[in-house]
Structures are given as structure tokens and as C-alpha cells.
């Protein structure tokens, strides 16, 4: 068993035991961090592997969240609503990706960014249905117990992480890397690059939507500020860069670090966002390979 997997398992055990020593408040912070961890891993699959820069992960997250929330308001129980949310995210993602993947360079990123703006506007306009900027209050929640919520989030993150990591190390993941690094060569080797990128986008959308839906059932509300906001995109990208691009599991580390730092700085009030952004900028400039990524680099230079 590789060292990485062993380390991950040890960490997992520690995390499982955590609620027995931590306050409800702290557990809440980690719960959000875990959901962000899944957002980050899903994004890394698309960026690190398929080589596509998605500036609107919050589009997929928001679709999943609002679809699940709206159905729940109409009486759907949690589980079907969450699954429907995931499906909505995948469908929305395909609608976005099918034409967008034909674009090169910064255009793909820009299309994804525009998708976010549009979704925000749609939600605000149809405020009667969606609750607009105030948000949508959900009748059901996953649980009122902080510990249970924590374990749900942890379990979801662990399973998602395992699946996404396995995918990244699989032959399918290798093909995806080729598609992202050198599409012409990948084609010459017989791989339908468009098909693989689309699949990667769908998987990214699936996990983003699932995580988004589950997160709103934890929070009890769905609002534009929490799930369809540029700050979500920024946090996701930072989390991946901090943890290390192309590592999948690094996204979890980055998310926990980021959310953790945000909480630690909360007493600073308004200035906390400033400080987090400043720290993130410093990391980008000084440690672009992130925490886990730095190890990978040494291997390659040997």
C-alpha cells in the first residue's frame, strides 16, 4: 500500500474520532470544509486532468443546490431531491460543456464565468420561486445534531475522494491526462478527446451538484451568496492550488486550510476576507505547487 494511501487512512481515522473532542462550532466549520473539499476535488479532476479551466464551479454547485432545494420545498424528501439536484447539475453542465469544449484558450473559462452570472440573475429575477437574494428556506435538514452532520459530510467526502482518486489513477485517468496535456497526440493514439473531456466534465458536475445539494440540506437554506457566488469559485480554485494541482486529495487539504484560516481570522471582522485573500495570493506567488504538489515535483526532477 503506497505511503499516500496509508497517510490518508490515518488522517481519516483521526477525523472520525474528532467529534469526541471538539465543540459543535468547530465541527460546523469542518463540515463546510468537507463539502468544499469535494468541490475542490471535482474541480481538480477537470483542471488537473482534462486541462480545462472552469471558472464557474459555482454554476454546477448552485444548480445542484437550488434544484434539490426547490424540489424539497415542493415536498420531495431529501434523498430523491439530492439525487435530482445532482442530475440537474450534470444536465446543466452538459448544456454548458457541449459547445464550450470546442472553444480554446481563455474562452472556455469565460463562458463558464458568464454561466455563473446568468444563473445569479435568473435566481434573482424569479425571486418569487427561488427566494431571490434572501434565499430559500428548506423544510428538511440532514440532521440537527452537529456530530451527525459532521459524520455525514466526512463520509461523503471520503467516498467521493476515494472514487475520484481511483479514477485519476486508472487507465481512464491516464487517457484524460493525455487529452489535457496534448490533445493532438492523444487523437493520434486513437482517443476521442472530446468524448473524454465531456465525461470528465459530467463527473465533475455530478460531484459538484451532489455536494452542493447536500450542503444546503446541512445549512437549511439555499442562497445566492453561499452557493452561486464568485467567492465560491475563488475558494475552490485556491483550495486546489494550495493543496496541489493534479493531486485530487490535495483539494481536501486546501479546503480545510482555507476554511480553517477564514474561521481563525473571523474576529478581525471585515478584514478577515482581506487577510485570507492576501494569504492566498502569497501562496500563489511563492508556493505555486501547493502543499502536496511540492512533493511530486521532487520526484520528477530526479
Amino acid at each position: 500500500m503506497s505511503r499516500r494511501v496509508l497517510a490518508a487512512l490515518v488522517l481519516l481515522l483521526l477525523l472520525i474520532a474528532f467529534p469526541f473532542v471538539a465543540s459543535g462550532y468547530l465541527l460546523g466549520v469542518f463540515t463546510i470544509a468537507f463539502y468544499f473539499g469535494v468541490f475542490a476535488m471535482a474541480w481538480d479532476l477537470l483542471f488537473g486532468f482534462a486541462g480545462e479551466v472552469n471558472f464557474g464551479p459555482t454554476f454546477l454547485i448552485g444548480l445542484g443546490a437550488y434544484a434539490a432545494g426547490l424540489l424539497n420545498v415542493r415536498g420531495w424528501p431529501i434523498l430523491p431531491a439530492v439525487l435530482a439536484g445532482a442530475v440537474a447539475a450534470v444536465l446543466g453542465g452538459l448544456l454548458l460543456a457541449l459547445p464550450a469544449l470546442r472553444l480554446r484558450g481563455p474562452y472556455f473559462g469565460l463562458v463558464t464565468l458568464v454561466a455563473v452570472l446568468l444563473l445569479q440573475q435568473v435566481i434573482v429575477i424569479f425571486a418569487g420561486v427561488t427566494g431571490g437574494e434572501i434565499g430559500l428556506s428548506l423544510p428538511d435538514v440532514l440532521s440537527v445534531d452537529a456530530r451527525k452532520n459532521y459524520w455525514y459530510a466526512l463520509a461523503f467526502m471520503a467516498v467521493s475522494g476515494a472514487l475520484l482518486y481511483a479514477l485519476s489513477r486508472s487507465p481512464a485517468g491516464l487517457i484524460l491526462q493525455a487529452a489535457g496535456q496534448d490533445p493532438v497526440e492523444a487523437q493520434a493514439l486513437g482517443f476521442n478527446v472530446a468524448k473524454h473531456k465531456l465525461a470528465a466534465f459530467s463527473i465533475s458536475a455530478l460531484f459538484s451538484g451532489l455536494a452542493g445539494a447536500l450542503m444546503v440540506f446541512y445549512l437549511g437554506t439555499a442562497s445566492v451568496d453561499t452557493v452561486v457566488d464568485i467567492s465560491v469559485t475563488v475558494q475552490v480554485i485556491i483550495a486546489v492550488v494550495l493543496g496541489g494541482r493534479r493531486t485530487i486529495l490535495g483539494g481536501i487539504l486546501g479546503a480545510v486550510f482555507l476554511i480553517g484560516v477564514g474561521e481563525v481570522l473571523r474576529p478581525l471582522g471585515q478584514l478577515s476576507t482581506f487577510v485570507v485573500a492576501a494569504i492566498a495570493l502569497a501562496v500563489i506567488l511563492l508556493f505555486p505547487d501547493g502543499l502536496i504538489g511540492a512533493f511530486g515535483r521532487h520526484r520528477r526532477q530526479a
Binding site: A166, L167, R169, S170, P171, A172, L174, I175, Q177, A178, Q181, D182, V184, E185, A186, Q187, A188, L189, G190, F191, N192, V193, K195, H196, A199, R246, R300, A302
Partner: protein, 486 residues
């Protein structure tokens, strides 16, 4: 025996340029066909059309009777066509072994379990091409020849019915060449069809069964290698008219050293592009550096121009160039006209030239412009046209003129004849002659085209695979070093 590949009436246009015109040929299984032509003859385009990387405007391509023209590349690959690109393109974040494994994988979305047999197979293939000891290393740590072996390994892994190989021997030493020839011959012996694309008939003569010679997109000769080399049209087109050597007017020859390159080495990652290269250029000399693709000419020139870092010393007028910015070196008198020309395509000829003359006082600039228009009259005629609408030869002249606007002491020309028809070569040759006769300019010329390089040189260096292997006078070249060149 029925043909494996039948190409008929293949045509491809890029805007107004016809790259391939009504091309027809066939390849039988167990045969190696050489598709030969100078740069710009359409041979690489023809190869890309067969592979599906470009789509033809007209014509048919049949693989074992199945029409594949216009198919996307991945479909052509799955139909049994393998391509070895001219420039190695490994995945840099994967080991050599993983690169080969990739080539063995089917195009499936659902393969989640790693297959042990695939790894075994990849290892076996890697060993068969001679990569056995480096399979677990990353491409940037591998030498040039091993990267080429990796490309062959990937091709073998695909088990193709037809193998397309672009410039198989570019950048290889004679020892490596023998090795690669053996591997390619092995393809043929296994019953596959092989298409070799190259610019040098003699280089592949020993390997190919038949040759099709191309020029400006059309087939001009076909037959065995010997027959094609003797063909009158081929000789005329490839070798051009007689380019005479002119003696340098005595009063312009000075003995003062202008440029000294001392033990210069350049590394791109772990790959060595130049190995302890030394050369010198005296004021007023025309020095040619002869070498094939990948030999290191461009790297050498980029080191002199300050565009890549290097080890060793480069002295200009006895002062080291180290530490100066590339722009400062250019302003200091060393002006390079690179292989890629780097013109400002959307700006007019006049604007391109003006930018060249930016650092000159206005009166001097006007004088130089007048002189250059005399040297290259076609540029004056096209002065208000956008640079990218000019033909290849005109663009080359513009690039050289623009460099000359800077009033260089040393003009570095990197492959100026690339892709040019012999008629243009003549004009270029005459322009260089006039420069030689009427100005004290010093020129460092890098060329694959040996004839062109020799006829404009006072001294010649030969660069092969990152090292200088010969230095001497042009008249001694043929008997001492000319073995590998046509």
C-alpha cells in the same frame, strides 16, 4: 497483392496556398515507401491528411479498401494507422512506461481497473526498442534519441497496419541511425506498410523500397531510390541552378575577431542541446554552420542572441555578452533573423521595416530604407501590404531587410532557405552576394541546405547532434565531411 494504402487525387488548400495538389500513390503491405521533398513540398501535409489531422479538400484515401479521407484522427488511428511525429511529444507528467501503456489502451470511458497485462506488454515493447533501463524515468530527463525511441515504442504499441514516420533520422548520430533503421525495417518485415517522410533521399535510400518525390505539392518522380536520385527533374528542383562560389573582395577581409563562442553548452532540462561548442567569427567573414534538424543550430544562435541561458563564454568584440538582455545584444550589433522569421503579420511591410529602424536617427533610417528597397525591389512594390499576405520568399526577404535596418555588425541567418523555391533561392543568393561585395557586414549562416551554405561561406562548421564535428574551408567540405549530405 492488393495495396494497403491507396491515395488518389489528394488535394489540400490553406487559403490561397495549395499545399498538396492531385497527389496519388499507393503502398503495399511489407513495403517501405519514401515520400521525399524539400521543405514546403507538401510531404508533411500529405502525411497529416492521411492521419486525419487535416481534412482534404478533394481526393480519396483508402486503407485496405475502406475510405478514410476526412475521418477524425482518433478514428483513423483505431482503423490501424500509426504516426511518429517529427518532434517527440511525450506526456511530461508521466514516465516513459506510462507513455507506452497509454498507447496500448482502448478508447474506453469505463476502464477503472489497471490491467497487469498492459503493464507487462508495455515493458516488453519498451525493452524491444532499447528503453529497458529508463522506463521509469520522466521524459525531461531522457536524451534526444531515447525520446525518439519512445515515439517508436508508442507506434509499435498501436499495432498499426500502416506506419507514418516523419523525418525518422532528424537529429540522430550515425550510430543511432543504424539502430533506428533496423527498428523501422522490422516494421516492414512484420508485414506492415511504412511511409517515411523526409527531405533527404540519400539518407533514407538504404531503407526504402520505393520513393515518391514531391515538389510544391505535386509528384514529380517515382521509382527506386537510385532512379529518383538520377531523375533530371528531381536534380534540377532540389539542387537548383549552379550556385557559384564568389571570392571575397580582398580589402574587406580583416583578421580581427568579432565573435568568440567558447565551450558553450545548453541544457533544456536534462536534455543537452549544445555540448561544449566553440566557434569564432572574424570581422567581415561569412561563416556557415551546417547541420540537420535538431542538430543545435537554432540553440546556438539563441545562445549568442541572449535568448537562452548557457554555460561557457561568448565574447563580442572581446567583451563577454553574459548579463546583457537579448534586446541590448540586438542593439549592440548582433541581429538575428530566426527560422520562424517573427514578422508582425498584421502590420504592413513598411511598418515592419520602420520598427527595424526605430533605433536609428531618422536620416540614417531613410538612407537604409532606400538601400534595402534597392536590394529587394519586391518589398518596395509591396510596401503597403500586410506582411502575412506575402509569399514565403517575400516574407524571408522582409525578415532579412528588417534585420538589416538595424545596421547590424553581425547578421545571424537561421535557415533562410526553408521552404523556398529555387527561383527565390537565386534571388536570396544574389542579395547575399551584393551584401558581401558592398558592405563590411559579417554573417553567420545556419543551414541544412549544404549547397547554399557552402556557396556563401568563407569558413564552414558542421554541427551534428549538439557538437561541432568539423571545421574548415568550403572547398574541402565535400571530401572531408560531405558524406551524409546530398
Amino acid at each position: 497483392m492488393t495495396a494497403r494504402l491507396v491515395v488518389e487525387g489528394l488535394t489540400k488548400r490553406f487559403g490561397g496556398l495549395v499545399a498538396v495538389r492531385d497527389l496519388s500513390f499507393e503502398i503495399r503491405p511489407g513495403e517501405i515507401l519514401g515520400l521525399i521533398g524539400p521543405n514546403g513540398s507538401g510531404k508533411s501535409t500529405a502525411m497529416k491528411l492521411i492521419m486525419g489531422i487535416e481534412r482534404p479538400n478533394a481526393g480519396s484515401i483508402r486503407l485496405d479498401g475502406v475510405e478514410i479521407a476526412g475521418w477524425p484522427a482518433h478514428r483513423v488511428a483505431r482503423a490501424g494507422v500509426g504516426l511518429v511525429f517529427q518532434h517527440s511529444r511525450p506526456l511530461h507528467r508521466q514516465t516513459a512506461l506510462e507513455n507506452i501503456k497509454l498507447a496500448l489502451l482502448p478508447d474506453s470511458l469505463t476502464r477503472l481497473m489497471a490491467d497487469h497485462s498492459v503493464t507487462e506488454q508495455a515493458r516488453a515493447i519498451g525493452e524491444s526498442v532499447g528503453l529497458g533501463r529508463v522506463l521509469d524515468r520522466y521524459p525531461q530527463t531522457l536524451p534526444f534519441a531515447d525520446l525518439r525511441r519512445l515515439e517508436l515504442a508508442k507506434a509499435i504499441a498501436r499495432n498499426p497496419k500502416l506506419v507514418l514516420v516523419d523525418e525518422p533520422f532528424a537529429g540522430l548520430t550515425s550510430a543511432e541511425l543504424a539502430d533506428f533503421s533496423r527498428l523501422i525495417a522490422h516494421f516492414r518485415d512484420e508485414g506492415r506498410a511504412v511511409l517515411l517522410v523526409d527531405h533527404n533521399v540519400k539518407g533514407v535510400a538504404a531503407l526504402v523500397d520505393r520513393v515518391v518525390a514531391l515538389y510544391l505539392g505535386e509528384r514529380i518522380a517515382e521509382g527506386t531510390a537510385d532512379e529518383v536520385m538520377r531523375d533530371a527533374r528531381v536534380r534540377q528542383v532540389y539542387l537548383g541552378g549552379s550556385i557559384e562560389m564568389h571570392a571575397r573582395p580582398a580589402q574587406l577581409s580583416e583578421a580581427r575577431s568579432l565573435l568568440e563562442v567558447e565551450e558553450v553548452s545548453v541544457f533544456y532540462g536534462k536534455a543537452q542541446a549544445l555540448e561544449r561548442v566553440s566557434l569564432s567569427v572574424r570581422a567581415g567573414e561569412f561563416v556557415s554552420v551546417v547541420g540537420l534538424n535538431g542538430a543545435g543550430k537554432t540553440t546556438l544562435f539563441n545562445a549568442i542572441s541572449g535568448l537562452v541561458p548557457y554555460q561557457g563564454r561568448i565574447l563580442w568584440e572581446n567583451a563577454p555578452l553574459a548579463g546583457k538582455s537579448a534586446a541590448a545584444i540586438a542593439r549592440g550589433g548582433i541581429v538575428q533573423c530566426p527560422e520562424t522569421r517573427e514578422l508582425f503579420g498584421d502590420m504592413t511591410v513598411q511598418e515592419n521595416l520602420n520598427l527595424g529602424g526605430q533605433h536609428q536617427p531618422p536620416a540614417e533610417e531613410r538612407k537604409r530604407l532606400r538601400w534595402l528597397f534597392d536590394l529587394f525591389p519586391i518589398l518596395e512594390a509591396r510596401r503597403d501590404q500586410a506582411a502575412r499576405t506575402l509569399s514565403g520568399g517575400e516574407q524571408q526577404m522582409l525578415a532579412i531587410a528588417r534585420a538589416l535596418m538595424m545596421n547590424p555588425r553581425l547578421l545571424i541567418l537561421d535557415e533562410p532557405t526553408l521552404g523556398l523555391a529555387p527561383v527565390i533561392l537565386e534571388q536570396l543568393s544574389q542579395a547575399l552576394e551584393r551584401l558581401r561585395e558592398t558592405t563590411p557586414i559579417t554573417v553567420l549562416l545556419g543551414e541544412q541546405n549544404v549547397r547554399f551554405a557552402l556557396s556563401h561561406a568563407d569558413r564552414v562548421y558542421v554541427l551534428e547532434h549538439a557538437r561541432i564535428i568539423w571545421e574548415g574551408l568550403p572547398e574541402n567540405f565535400a571530401k572531408e565531411a560531405g558524406a551524409a549530405y546530398l
